[in-house]
């Protein structure tokens, strides 16, 4: 069967339906892109309460050898977080958990020794403003470096019923490298 190769310019003639841009309920709130000097952390502050859920979409790289970033809400550094994860490292699947932890999971990152390689994460924060619930985070993240890397599914809980107004993303002691980009989106309900 011969391949179908179409450009979007003439797509309709070949059965591809194209769309005009339309308004919707998935909205971009803010984006942070790390510059040449690197950054010790990335913060989204004063998050509006007009959405039902939040999503973070990111490409990330560490300026040193750290390969996993963490996240906190509303500047809470207490042991009020917990998480479970399922990892695949190319050889085996492993599961683990953290309880009474001082941070939520964010995701895998590239390291300084991995040229032009960035980790990626898609993170859903559900019912972020609901003051009747602890906050739940769902993470899909991974990094592949052609012979090494990890893909992970994880879920984290922040045991606090306060609405999330701030998100801080960080490494324990090292910096985000240039071109790291984290974008925050709001989803209306």
């Amino acid at each position: 069967m011969s391949p179908i190769l179409q450009t979007l310019a003439n797509a309709s003639a070949y059965g591809y339906q194209t769309f005009a841009a339309a308004g919707g309920d998935f909205q971009s709130i803010a984006t942070v892109t790390v510059g040449a000097g690197g950054s010790s952390s990335i913060t989204f502050a004063s998050i509006p309460s007009t959405y039902q859920h939040l999503q973070l979409r990111a490409i990330t790289k560490n300026a040193s050898s750290a390969n996993f970033a963490a996240m906190r809400f509303n500047s809470d550094t207490g042991s009020n977080y917990s998480a479970h994860y399922l990892d695949g490292d190319g050889a085996s699947a492993t599961a683990g958990a953290a309880s009474n932890y001082d941070r939520s999971y964010f995701g895998y990152t590239g390291t300084s020794s991995q040229t032009n390689i960035f980790g990626v994460s898609v993170i859903d924060i559900l019912d972020y403003k609901d003051t009747n619930k602890y906050k739940t985070v769902r993470v899909l993240t991974g990094v592949d470096a052609n012979g090494s890397g990890t893909v992970e599914l994880s879920s984290s809980s922040w045991r606090n019923t306060a609405a999330i107004t701030d998100i801080n993303i960080f490494f324990s002691s090292t910096n985000f490298a240039q071109y790291t980009q984290v974008a925050l989106y709001g989803i209306k309900g």
Partner: protein
């Protein structure tokens, strides 16, 4: 706040097809999200960028088959593959959401992150790398192994997500 998650194009196959390609993709967005819901005769669903058929892809995968969990890796490969073979159960659909992050920058190698599965067979997650810093302007999907096809009715929908 600007709305996003914009539909770019979609196709539902009217006949069995070997390769589906979205080309001339605008660099307007930050990420691409591709949603596939497909069936086929054999092989996993594979993705390539900018018509690159060289050994410039790799991936790390995680899968559960109802009995156990495992992880696999491919290096210096000619495509990035999903976790499920299309032919496992006739008529079953393999579904996937592919996140192609920062596809239009010319600084980083391109990484795709996706979850996929077929309810009768497997569920999985994969991170894949295309070792090329070029902006992605086309995305091609095909079943593995040469002459295999996606079946009539398979759907492919491409969205653009633009950050502020």
């Amino acid at each position: 706040m600007p709305t996003t998650y914009t539909p770019i194009a979609t196709t539902t196959l009217g006949s069995n097809t070997g390769t589906v390609t979205f080309s001339s993709i605008s660099g307007t967005y930050t990420d691409l999200v591709l949603i596939t819901n497909v069936s086929g005769n054999d092989g996993a669903i594979c993705i390539r960028f900018n018509s690159d058929t060289g050994s410039n892809y790799s991936n790390t995968g995680l899968r559960g088959n109802g009995t156990s969990a495992s992880s696999t890796r491919a290096t210096n490969f000619s495509y990035i593959a999903g976790t499920s073979n299309l032919s496992v159960t006739a008529g079953s659909l393999q579904t996937a959401i592919w996140n192609i992050q920062n596809y239009s920058n010319t600084t980083t190698n391109k990484t795709v992150l996706f979850r996929d599965g077929m309810a009768t067979h497997i569920t999985g997650a994969t991170v894949g790398l295309w070792r090329n810093t070029a902006a992605i302007t086309s995305v091609s999907l095909s079943p593995e192994f040469g002459a295999n096809v996606f079946y009539t009715g398979s759907t492919f929908t491409l969205y653009g997500v633009k950050s502020a």
